[in-house]
Every structure is written in structure tokens, then in C-alpha cells.
């Protein structure tokens, strides 16, 4: 089940064609088949694929692909451009009302992640927009749904308005809005029950709520793993409610997320957020261009860099760079570095975003739980300050003590010291090279 990226697919095709020297129209046809298969494999709806392929084909036939020395690359370029275009270019922000309260309505199928996303959104709005959100428990059908929202509310310290499961959602929303005005809550996020897009009764209930609440944002929450049916779901919700935005959830899984493209192309509504974890801060703004690359199996380098930049303190970085220059980098600094790496989140998350990572066999089975970092940190913490400054002092008996203190083996202590020395050597070389390129990972060399 190894997913092949479009790149490899086209490459393989090109290798077959290459011997002929020139690319013909029928070769383009073969390449288009590869593009088609790559998109279908990524769960993009087949109708959308068809439309898309016609567009790409037209451009490919008309342009310089046929004369190009690297037609495969050219095709990828066109596909990527068209795909990004279709995905809607830039990220779009959430709609906020000038006149409070801003009302946001969460809708979607069962199990898409509406309640979790409602909580994440509340936290996002408070953190980034300084809003005072109120969560409204409008799911009276699923057992303990209200309970779930209340727990979420407690976790992020956001008030939850609930009237139990015996009151109609329409009534709940009406009272919630009054309550929000009275309590000066400037943002109201309404959680609704999950429903099938074919369930007329429940869809009408949503229409009623829309009528009552006049939401500024109707957010359709869709599971990114959805297959061909994503088109129908998005289309029916959009027809019924005229949605204003989409949140794709569970994107931290290993799905290629072709649903994103399907939804975008049938509704023409922007995808605004991506749900990235079960934790409440796991909501990220959606970047269409990066999603385009993911669908094509090209990884997401930009997101990694951004993540690194967000967690690594710039001032600390400057101090650190100075230290590297002066060659006064100690094991203590190293300890700090590792804390920053840990803040980046689970390492397997990072690896997943790397291009080509999906090709490495056995990566999914690899244990990247950050335990090794913990072990290294334990070893350093078992050293005295003096030893951390001057590792050369650490003799055999000190090593034994450190190993005992950290609960690791003597070999591990040895390995760490050896690697640290090599790292310092490398730093020396780096600083002696003039005009070197700035590399965001340059000072993150890890000894494992």
C-alpha cells in the first residue's frame, strides 16, 4: 500500500519514454494517465479528476512540455500550479462580525470532529483575536455530547451554554444568543449534532438554526480521510446552508487528503482550518499550496520550517550562534537545544511532513517518541555544572557515576560524549567557513 507520489510516477513513465528522445502527444496522454491515477489514489473525486486532467492536458499540449528536456518536471509544474489555483491560492481568515456577537455555526457528518473543532476554534479566537467566546451545546441527540462539550469548555476555560437534551436546538440557540449579549460574550460558537447529508429532518433543523442565529460563519467540518463521497457531503451541506468555510480534520493522520480538492472544487468555498491533533491547540490555518503538495505526495517542507521558527526563540538563537562562534558551546547549551526540539512536537509528526518520508520503509514502525531525547537529557542532568562546562574532565569513575545517576548504561554515556565532541568539531569547521548559507537546522545536530 505504499503511496507513490506523483513525482515518482511520472519519473517512471519518463524513463520508459526517454529512449525515444522526443515526447509525442501520445506520451502526454500516458503522463496524464499517471496524473489521473495519482489523484484518484489520493481520494480526489473522479469527476473532479476528469475536469482537472482536461485542464492540465490542454496546457501541457499547448505549452513547451513537448520541447522541454525534462517533460516530467514540466508536467509536475503545471499540475502543481493548476492544483494550487484550484485550491484557492492564499489562506482565508475566519469571518468576524463588526457588530458583536460574531456567530459561528459548526456543521457536518457524525464523527467528523465538530465538537473538538468548536473547542479548538474557541481557543484560537481567544488567543489570536482576543475574543470572549461562548460555546453552545446544540447536539441533543448523541449520548453525552453535551457532556463532551462541557469538558472541552473546562479544559480551555471557555463558558458553555447548555439546556440539556430535552430542549429543541432552535430554542437553545435563541436563548444562547440572549445569554451571550447579556454576558458580553462577543463570539458564539454553536455545536450542532452530526447528521447525514441525506437526513431531511435534521437538515431542516440546521436551516432553522441558521435563520435564528444568522451566523457570520457556517463552518463545515469534514474528515480529511473521506473518500469519493466528500463531494456529495459538501455539495448537500452547501446547497442547504450556503456554507462559508470548511475545516478539514484529522490531517495529522497519513491520508493524502484528496477530499480537500473535491470539496473545494464543488463548493468553491475556502478551506480555512486544518485539525492537526486531539489537543485543543491543534488547529492550524490551512495553506492551499501545501495541501496541493501533500495530495501529490510531495511533502510539506514549509510547514516544518514554520513550526521550527515558531518554537525556537530568536534571541536564544542569537546567543547560541555567538556561543558556537566562540566555541563556548557546552553540554548545558545542548540540553537547552534539546528542549526546543522537544517543543516542536512528536518527531514522527515532523518526519511525516518531510518529502520522501513516505517512501522510507518501516518509518511508520519506527519509535520516534522522543524517548531518546529524554535519555540524553537524563545523562546530561546527572552531570555537575562543572562537568557540563568541561566535558574533558569526565573520567572513568565520573562516567560510572553519571550512568548510575541517569539510569542509563556506560556505553550510552560514552556515546553521548563522543558525539558531543564531534559536534563541537563540526561547529568549529562551520564557523571557519566564511559566507556559509544560513540553515535553519544547522544548529540542531543531534547526537543520534
Amino acid at each position: 500500500m505504499a503511496f507513490e507520489g506523483l513525482g515518482e510516477r511520472l519519473q517512471a513513465t519518463m524513463d520508459r519514454i526517454k529512449s525515444k528522445g522526443k515526447v509525442s502527444e501520445s506520451d502526454i496522454k500516458v503522463m496524464m494517465r499517471e496524473v489521473r491515477l495519482a489523484l484518484l489514489e489520493a481520494d480526489v473525486n473522479f469527476k473532479v479528476v476528469k475536469q482537472f486532467i482536461n485542464q492540465v492536458k490542454e496546457r501541457a499540449l499547448g505549452s513547451d512540455v513537448m520541447q522541454s528536456l525534462t517533460p516530467g518536471q514540466q508536467v509536475i509544474k503545471i499540475v502543481k500550479e493548476e492544483l494550487t489555483d484550484l485550491m484557492g491560492g492564499d489562506n482565508q481568515k475566519i469571518n468576524l462580525s463588526q457588530k458583536p456577537p460574531t456567530v459561528i455555526m459548526m456543521v457536518g457528518l457524525q464523527g467528523a470532529g465538530k465538537t473538538t473543532t468548536a473547542g479548538k476554534l474557541a481557543l484560537h479566537l481567544r488567543k489570536n483575536y482576543n475574543k470572549k467566546p461562548l460555546l453552545v451545546a446544540g447536539d441533543i441527540y448523541r449520548p453525552a455530547a453535551i457532556d463532551q462539550l462541557e469538558t472541552v469548555g473546562r479544559q480551555i476555560d471557555v463558558p458553555v451554554f447548555a439546556l440539556g437534551d430535552q430542549v429543541k436546538p432552535q430554542q437553545i440557540v435563541t436563548e444562547a444568543l440572549d445569554h451571550a449579549r447579556a454576558e458580553h460574550q462577543d463570539t458564539v460558537i454553536i455545536d450542532t449534532a452530526g447528521r447525514l447529508h441525506i437526513d431531511e429532518g435534521l437538515m431542516n433543523e440546521l436551516k432553522d438554526i441558521k435563520e435564528i442565529a444568522k451566523p457570520d460563519e457556517i463552518m463545515l467540518v469534514v474528515d480529511s480521510m473521506t473518500g469519493q463521497d466528500a463531494v456529495n457531503v459538501a455539495e448537500s451541506f452547501n446547497d442547504m446552508l450556503d456554507i462559508t468555510g470548511v475545516t478539514l480534520t484529522k490531517l495529522d493522520g497519513d491520508t493524502r487528503g484528496g477530499a480537500a480538492l473535491s470539496i473545494r472544487s464543488v463548493t468553491d468555498k475556502p478551506i480555512k482550518f486544518a485539525g492537526m491533533s486531539e489537543k485543543m491547540d491543534g488547529l492550524e490555518t490551512f495553506h492551499p499550496d501545501r495541501m496541493a503538495q501533500r495530495i501529490l505526495g510531495m511533502g510539506d517542507v514549509l510547514s516544518i520550517i514554520e513550526k521550527a521558527q515558531a518554537t525556537v526563540d530568536e534571541d536564544e538563537q542569537k546567543v547560541l550562534q555567538q556561543k558556537i562562534k566562540d566555541q563556548s558551546f557546552t553540554l548545558d547549551d545542548f540540553l537547552e537545544q534539546m528542549d526546543q526540539v522537544k517543543n516542536l512536537g512528536p518527531l514522527d509528526d515532523l518526519l511525516k511532513m518531510m518529502p520522501g518520508a513516505n517512501k522510507i520503509k518501516g518509518l511508520d514502525k519506527m519509535q520516534m517518541s522522543g524517548n531518546e531525547i529524554d535519555h540524553v537529557q537524563a545523562i546530561i542532568r546527572s552531570m555537575t555544572m562543572d562537568e557540563r562546562e568541561n566535558p574533558s574532565k569526565i573520567n572513568a569513575s565520573r562516567k560510572k557515576r553519571i550512568a548510575r545517576g541517569s539510569g542509563r548504561t556506560l556505553q550510552e554515556v560514552n556515546r553521548l560524549l563522543k558525539q558531543f565532541n564531534e559536534m563541537k568539531k563540526m561547529m568549529k569547521q562551520m564557523t571557519s567557513q566564511k559566507g556559509k548559507k544560513k540553515n535553519p537546522f544547522g544548529n540542531m545536530g543531534l547526537p543520534f
Binding site: Q110, G111, A144, A145, M225, D229, P346, Q367, S369
Partner: protein, 369 residues
């Protein structure tokens, strides 16, 4: 059309008599006269299940057949365009990507070797190949492994939001109805409100729920539950687990720890490891099945939300590519909407009209030019 005849004969016994045209009401009336024999009642009950099953899959079936028929009408000759359109129909039904490619490649080969040029002549082969795929893993045990006179442990796993807890509620109801002593274990200690959700189901169905507080170690909950089940002489213990994405190594390890804890007390447990899959999921369903199979040795699949979609083709793919049988399907939101799945009925349902159509064609002698 000998193959279709064979197929029809094979599925004939399982075909509900005349049930297709009748509504539930009509069938209810039949019960109301109060004069039916036990056999008649059993037959009626069988029809009810068949009806529900049919109604739930009606959408899948109709759509699939219409599309195949349309395809035949639109592409009279067998060429690359025809095959692409066929691929689209199959992928549109969420039959897995690899399975579709395998299928169409085989069909391309057949068309070439047997020199078939009219799409109509390929119809039989399409059905034949699909049934072949279905039959390839014919020896898969489709029945649920319930221990007679001893504790049966069912572990329920899956990614987030597929309907694990709801399916457990329905399963509990089913076994309770069968006169079994059922207990539930609230192993989802992570998601907000999950424990309460299971408790609500527990009181609805009237079965015991063993739980600890939110955030506690799920393996500890399993330990408690399995010991309580043994002590109280429970027949069926159904263990809920937190939803987890299959690429999260740590969470998958937690699952194997839970399994180990269960096995310490009951060595041959879990007797069933059921993976819950959302029928609307695309290719990722295969990745899920594969990952969970590695950790908990999944013995069967519960396919939920099958009523809402025109999909379900993934059943074929999972069977073909992973050899895991679908044991239950969720066809609605009612307590009794979880049905034991019969792959035979499903495949028959999928091709029922195509088979009769083909026969009509056969009868008319194919007299067009």
C-alpha cells in the same frame, strides 16, 4: 450466460422471497393476523433483516448498477476510454484503488486475448471477476467468535469518530437480546465525555459499565473490567478504546498494552478484535486496517454509516487486499441497526439486477446488429 446462471443458482437460496417489492408495513400486517406458525414467523423475521439490509444497501446497489448500465450504453466499443470510465465507476464506489487497477488490468487482458470489442460482451466478465475477487478469500470466518458457556472478550478499536462507542451500544443490545449477560469496559479515558457516552448506552441497554475516571490508564480499566467480568460470570465483555490515528506509534503501543493486560487474565482473549471503519472513508481505510491488524490482530470489521452513502465498495477492497472479513454493518441510528454482514448477500445485492438484465439480454437472443 452460464456463469451468471451459476451465480444466480448459488445465491438463489439466500434471496428473500418477494421481499424486494414489499414495504415494511405490508410485512407487519402479515404478523398482525396473529395466526402464523413459528416457521412463518422465522421466515418473516428473516425477511425483515433482509429488507433492512437491502434498504440500507439499496443506494449502493442502484447507483452501481445504473452506472454500469450507463457505461455500457455510452461506450459501445471496448477501448481505453471505456476502461477509464469503468475505473471511474469502481473508484466512485470506493472499491479500493489497487483492487480496481487489478480488476481493470485483468479485464484489459481478457478483452485482448478473447478479442472482445463490444462492451456488452464484457459485462459478464466484469461480474465474474468481481465475484472472483470476493471469493478469493472465501475461507474467511465470517461468524462472530462467541464462546459458549465462557467469557467472550470483544475488543473494539478504530480511528477517531468512526462510531466505536455507538457500535458497542448496538452490539451490547444485540447480545443482551440474545439472552447473554453483557458488560462494557470504558477504555476511552482520553476523549472528553467518552466515558459518559458509554454509560448512557449502558443504561439504555441495561448492562453494567466498568469505568474509571477520565485520564486514567486504559490498561488499568481493562484489568478491572476483565476481573469483574470473570467474577460476575459475564458472557460477553465488550471493551471500548479511545479513537487513535493509525500512524501514532505511541497510541498504537498503548493498544497492544491493553491487549496484553487482557491476555494475562484470559489467555485466549480477545476472542474478537473488531475494527470499526467509517464507510465514507476512502483509501485510508486500507491503511487503517493494516496498522490495526498489526497491533491487535483484527479479526473482523464493523462498517458504520453505510446507510448514508452510496459507497461500500471498500468491503471488496478490504477483503481482497487485507483478508479481513466484514462482520457487522451499521445501517442506521436505531438500536437494532447493526446487522451481521453477509458478504454473499452483499455481492448478490450488488449484481442482482445486472444478472437478471443479462438474462433478459440472453433470452432476447441478442438480435441487434
Amino acid at each position: 450466460m452460464s456463469f451468471l446462471k451459476r451465480l444466480k443458482d448459488r445465491f438463489q437460496p439466500s434471496r428473500e422471497k418477494e421481499a424486494a417489492g414489499k414495504s415494511v408495513e405490508e410485512q407487519n400486517e402479515k404478523l398482525d393476523d396473529g395466526l402464523i406458525s413459528i416457521e412463518e414467523f422465522e421466515e418473516w423475521e428473516q425477511e425483515q433483516i433482509g429488507y433492512k439490509f437491502k434498504a440500507g444497501l439499496e443506494k449502493s446497489r442502484e447507483k452501481f448498477q445504473n452506472e454500469i448500465n450507463e457505461l455500457m450504453a455510452r461506450y459501445r466499443t471496448v477501448d481505453e476510454d471505456f476502461f477509464e470510465a469503468l475505473e471511474e465507476v469502481l473508484i466512485g464506489a470506493d472499491v479500493g484503488f489497487n483492487t480496481v487497477m487489478e480488476l481493470t488490468d485483468e479485464l484489459r487482458h481478457v478483452a485482448k486475448v478473447e478479442n472482445i470489442t463490444e462492451s456488452r460482451d464484457l459485462k459478464e466478465t466484469i461480474v465474474e471477476k468481481m465475484v472472483e475477487i470476493y471469493e478469493r478469500n472465501d475461507d474467511l470466518p465470517e461468524t462472530v467468535n462467541i464462546q459458549e458457556d465462557d467469557l467472550t472478550v470483544i475488543l473494539v478499536v478504530g480511528v477517531n469518530g468512526v462510531g466505536k462507542t455507538t457500535s458497542i451500544g448496538k452490539l451490547a443490545y444485540k447480545y443482551k437480546q440474545e439472552g447473554k449477560n453483557v458488560m462494557l469496559a470504558a477504555g476511552d479515558t482520553f476523549r472528553a465525555g467518552a466515558i459518559n457516552q458509554l454509560k448512557v448506552w449502558g443504561s439504555r441497554v441495561d448492562v453494567d459499565v466498568i469505568s474509571q475516571s477520565e485520564g486514567s490508564d486504559p490498561a488499568a480499566v481493562m484489568f478491572d473490567a476483565i476481573n469483574a467480568a470473570k467474577k460476575r460470570g459475564t458472557d460477553v465483555l465488550i471493551c471500548d478504546t479511545a479513537g487513535r490515528l493509525q500512524n501514532k506509534g505511541n497510541l498504537m503501543n498503548e493498544l497492544s498494552k491493553m491487549k496484553n493486560v487482557i491476555q494475562k487474565t484470559v489467555p485466549d482473549a480477545p476472542h474478537e478484535s473488531l475494527l470499526v471503519l467509517d464507510a465514507t472513508t476512502g483509501q485510508n481505510a486500507l491503511s487503517q486496517a493494516k496498522a490495526f491488524k498489526e497491533v491487535t490482530d483484527v479479526s473482523g470489521i464493523v462498517l458504520t454509516k453505510l446507510d448514508g452513502t452510496a459507497k461500500g465498495g471498500i468491503v471488496l477492497a478490504i477483503r481482497n487486499e487485507l483478508g479481513i472479513p466484514v462482520k457487522f454493518v451499521g445501517l442506521g441510528e436505531q438500536l437494532d441497526d447493526l446487522q451481521e454482514f453477509s458478504a454473499e448477500n452483499y455481492v448478490y445485492g450488488l449484481f442482482a439486477d445486472m444478472i437478471s438484465n443479462a438474462e433478459e439480454l440472453d433470452d432476447s437472443g441478442g438480435d441487434d446488429v
